[in-house]
């Protein structure tokens, strides 16, 4: 039952060449920061087509994993293989205790943001072929690790909820009239990018400010506030209320425009720009009241 040295199913090894190729590849776990083997090719593999992934392991409950470490997995490469495919292969073929969140496999559920080769990325849309080997896969930095690649997302969700992330308008048309609130194409276009957020947490994890200030709302939550504050269907007084939320001490003014959030966002949302625009709106609003 030990998770330390995962062994492939012995009865399968002789019949499956791919499997055989990977068999000897599950090296003894390496500690973080230890020597990293720079060669990707496994000498036992006939075609030299395996990739080496080094995956962060930690489980507070299992003695062998209480001290964080990296495990090596050699995974047979196939065209189009993503980082998610690679960890799924490692889990299903070598070590069923390898733990990570994933679901849709197509970059809409936002479950599988990991720290891959030093950058926050969605594993399902990260092509293995584009990464330097060995590939290091770690949980998102600046978040508490629950186990292996799983981090505690509660703080992220709390920040999202703190901006009242729901549409507010008390005066919608009567439902039986089937009458919508009008919205111009321009206004829809303005909020379009902000509505694409999939709550993956990559931005928050990349942000130095969030790392230093636990109460900072963070790029995703501020973007959520932007999504509503810029939506013309909400009345002016709600917009002012929203600006008051984001201009609080741990809000937009904390952002130092380092653009790290924008850089890692898998949905290409211009997060930093949205934060800056809310700063400008907040200033305008305050001038108005003076």
């Amino acid at each position: 039952m030990s998770t330390q040295q995962p062994e492939p199913e012995s009865q399968e090894a002789p019949t499956d060449p791919e499997f055989q190729g990977a068999e000897s590849s599950v090296d003894e776990a390496e500690r973080s920061g230890g020597d990293i083997d720079q060669t990707a090719a496994d000498p036992t593999d006939l075609e030299g087509e395996t990739v080496l992934i080094k995956v962060f392991r930690y489980d507070p409950e299992v003695e062998a994993k209480q001290e964080p470490r990296f495990d090596d997995f050699h995974v047979p490469f196939t065209k189009g293989m993503t980082a998610l495919d690679a960890v799924i292969y490692a889990r299903d073929q070598y070590d069923s205790s390898l733990t990570f969140r994933h679901s849709c496999r197509q970059a809409v559920c936002g479950s599988d943001a990991f720290f891959i080769n030093g950058k926050q990325r969605l594993a399902c849309k990260t092509q293995i072929a584009e990464l330097e080997q060995p590939i290091r896969i770690e949980p998102l930095p600046h978040q508490e690790v629950v186990k292996d690649l799983v981090v505690d997302m509660d703080h992220f969700y709390d920040q999202m909820h703190a901006v009242e992330p729901y549409f507010q308008n008390e005066e919608t048309p009567a439902i039986e009239d089937l009458e919508e609130q009008r919205q111009s194409r321009e206004n829809r276009e303005k909020i379009k990018m902000s509505t694409r957020c999939i709550w993956c947490g990559a931005c928050m994890s990349s942000c130095n400010i969030a790392a230093g200030d636990n109460e900072y709302l963070g790029p995703a939550a501020i973007n959520k506030a932007y999504r509503f504050a810029m939506d013309d269907r909400e009345p002016e007084e709600i917009k002012e209320h929203r600006l008051r939320i984001v201009e609080q001490e741990h809000g937009v003014w904390r952002c130092q425009t380092q653009f790290s959030c924008t850089e890692v966002c898998p949905k290409d949302i211009p997060l930093t720009e949205h934060i800056q625009e809310l700063k400008r709106e907040a200033v305008k609003k305050n001038l108005k009241f003076w």
């Binding site: 189009g80 070590d95 729901y166 089937l178 919205q183 194409r185 939506d231």
Partner: protein, 624 residues
């Protein structure tokens, strides 16, 4: 033990909508979901929401289109309810802030979709499901509805009368994935299953890894029939390595399908001389697989979808998202090379048998969304009809569970007077429980014996709390058993074997021999599952344990799909049989129902209801 009035299992579109409706009807409502709500697979829906919103359109036209699309296997009361409720429920989404695409005058846009007589598909870019899911979750947050996220529902807690129609559902047993804690959830008024599709029963699917048919399986084993499970929609253009969907929009814009020899096979091999690439989904899927089977597939696996001739400008303007998908998920640049595509499992038309209020035959147990079969989609679902189903029937189930009067349902459920139960098809193996007649102490389903013999004590569990406690105890025993074993077989091996069998033999093409072969393999999987063990010793975030549970559910669900595919000896909608190339209305205007029957599955049929409120839908040839 946790206690609420209404417990909703699953937090996709149907679950969230049900929870909002139950909450608004005054019930203390909680959602229990194995995923955080925004991770749900509703978010992957691209197309849109069919709703007769505009002047000139009419709910009756929507109902007619849906009935025709279903190949006359939809039940008219369900279809008419969908079409009547969809406009209001779609408009409610707009009032909740959904960022629909807009017309110049600021009204919501609608577009044409396959099989529709009017352009009534309401959409938000090509990400309608994403927006629907997020808007609904926002409304749940606004109302302060409690969400137990990353809690995996293992089983239902029901009373144990011999006839399922006499049983009552008292709650669920769930385990907290993060801590491993197993707890009972008492539902004073109702449990609503909204657990999504069973796509993971197949090797190649557009569905998320989480779509494992959990709700199907726990309802089935509790005694609720699964209906029309043989009707599975296969989408013709999914990426080979991941199953990620490439929208029909590519062919709509003029994308062309080629085989390995560079032939435009839809025309050159005569599959659809008029519509070509734009023939209906089932036709194109069958054509692609024929090419592969006859040796003209690329790498013996897929065909090419080429859009290069459309030019970079047009592609970037209208199909930009497709470029990202092909690049991110297949490593292919759609501007310089054709994209590999093949049919992928996409949607299950069948599911847990319910009436138009979402009720199953077990009192207090409801189902809504893709896991349910009302039946709206019959033999084939039209594009744009899945999302309105979520909001319409999610809402109805939530309201009804919370005690709102929605009127007497016209659709009947459970085993009763209006069913017929003879089938002359010979089954290759005995389906159902593997534990019957054995006394090795390990039950049918890999759990402790007491779990499969839950109803053997003969007592009537009228005490809800007692029923839940017993159900919790059974799951704790099952988990201990799975974790204590340290040899045997792991779920991933069984799951792969099951998925491969389903994609090989119960796919787009179905032959009697093939489906029988699948049933034999499913049987092997079930028997292997007797020796399944969980290798991960941790109680913390043990996905090994969760997936072992899910694999068991997939075995039960896959078996019903294959059984349905074997006994339905006709060609209707998405169900194609080599030996039966015609729709047989005299014999088959009826639903296939499969009930677990204590481990000895029972197959029976119920006539489809073609009589609507004011008119009867006469079956016609389905041509477009």
């Amino acid at each position: 033990m946790y206690e609420h009035d209404v417990i909703v299992v699953g937090a996709g579109g149907a679950g969230l909508r049900a929870a909002i409706a139950a909450h608004e009807a005054g019930a203390d409502t909680a959602i229990v979901s194995k995923l955080h709500p925004v991770r749900s697979h509703t978010g992957a829906a691209e197309g849109g929401i069919n709703a007769a919103l505009q002047e000139g359109d009419d709910w009756e036209l929507h109902a007619y289109d849906t009935m025709k699309g279903s190949d006359y296997l939809g039940d008219a009361p369900a279809v008419e309810t969908l079409a009547q409720d969809a406009p209001e429920d779609t408009m409610r989404l707009e009032h909740w802030g959904m960022p629909f695409s807009r017309e110049e005058d600021g009204r919501v846009s609608q577009r044409p979709f396959g099989g529709l007589s009017y352009p009534r598909t309401t959409y938000a870019g090509a990400e309608t499901g994403h927006h629907l899911l997020h808007v609904m979750y926002e409304q749940v947050v606004k109302r302060g509805i409690q969400v137990y996220d990353e809690w995996y529902v293992m089983n239902l807690a029901t009373s144990d009368e011999p006839n399922p129609k006499d049983r009552e559902c008292h709650g669920v047993v769930a385990y907290d994935v993060q801590s491993g804690q197993i707890e009972g959830f008492k539902a004073n008024q109702g449990v609503i299953l909204a657990t999504g599709g069973p796509g993971q029963a197949f090797d190649h699917t557009t569905n998320a890894v989480s779509c494992t048919g959990d709700g199907h399986a726990i309802a089935y084993r509790a005694g609720v029939p699964l209906e029309d499970m043989e009707f599975i929609q296969f989408h013709p253009t999914s990426l080979p390595s991941t199953g990620v969907l490439i929208s029909e929009g590519v062919r709509g814009e003029g994308g062309i399908l080629y085989n390995e020899d560079g032939e435009r096979f839809m025309f050159e091999h005569g599959y659809a001389n008029n519509a070509g690439e734009l023939a209906s989904r089932d036709v194109v899927s069958r054509a692609e697989l024929t090419e592969v089977n006859e040796g003209r597939g690329v790498n013996d696996e897929y065909v090419h979808l080429d859009m290069r001739h459309l030019g970079e400008e047009r592609i970037l303007d209208r199909l930009e998202n497709i470029l990202h998908l092909a690049e991110d998920f297949e490593g292919v640049d759609g501007l310089v090379e054709p994209m590999p595509v093949k049919p992928g499992q996409h949607y299950a038309m069948g599911g847990i048998e319910t009436d138009e209020n979402g009720q199953t035959c077990i009192s207090g147990l409801y189902a809504a969304g893709e896991c349910a079969c009302v039946s709206v989609h019959g033999g084939n679902r039209l594009g744009g009809n899945a999302l309105p189903e979520l909001i319409v029937f999610g809402k109805r189930a939530g309201r009804h569970a919370a005690g709102d009067d929605l009127g007497e349902p016209q659709i009947k459920t459970g085993y009763g007077n209006d069913v017929e139960d003879e089938t002359d098809v010979e089954l290759p193996v005995t389906p159902g429980s593997a534990g019957i007649g054995t006394d090795d102490g390990v039950a049918a389903d890999g759990g402790p014996r007491s779990a499969s013999d839950a109803r053997s004590d003969g007592g009537i569990a009228t005490d809800a709390a007692g029923a839940i406690e017993r159900a919790v105890e059974r799951e704790r025993e099952r988990v201990d058993r799975l974790m204590d074993r340290d040899t045997g077989i792991q779920h991933a091996e069984i799951r792969q074997k099951l998925q491969t069998a389903m994609t090989d033999y119960v796919n787009v093409f179905r032959t009697e021999e093939g489906v029988k072969k699948a049933l034999r393999i499913i049987r092997e999987c079930r028997e292997e599952y007797q020796d399944v063990y969980v290798d991960d010793p941790s109680r913390t975030f043990n996905t090994d344990l969760q997936q072992t549970y899910e694999t068991r559910n997939l075995i039960d669900v896959a078996e019903t799909i294959a059984l349905g595919a074997l006994v339905r000896t006709e060609f209707r909608g998405a169900h194609w049989r080599a030996e039966h190339q015609e729709r047989k209305d005299e014999e088959w205007l009826k639903h296939t129902l499969i009930s677990w029957n204590g481990g000895k599955p029972d197959i029976f049929y119920r006539p489809v209801i073609l009589e609507g409120d004011e008119k009867t839908y006469e079956p016609k040839v389905r041509s477009y």
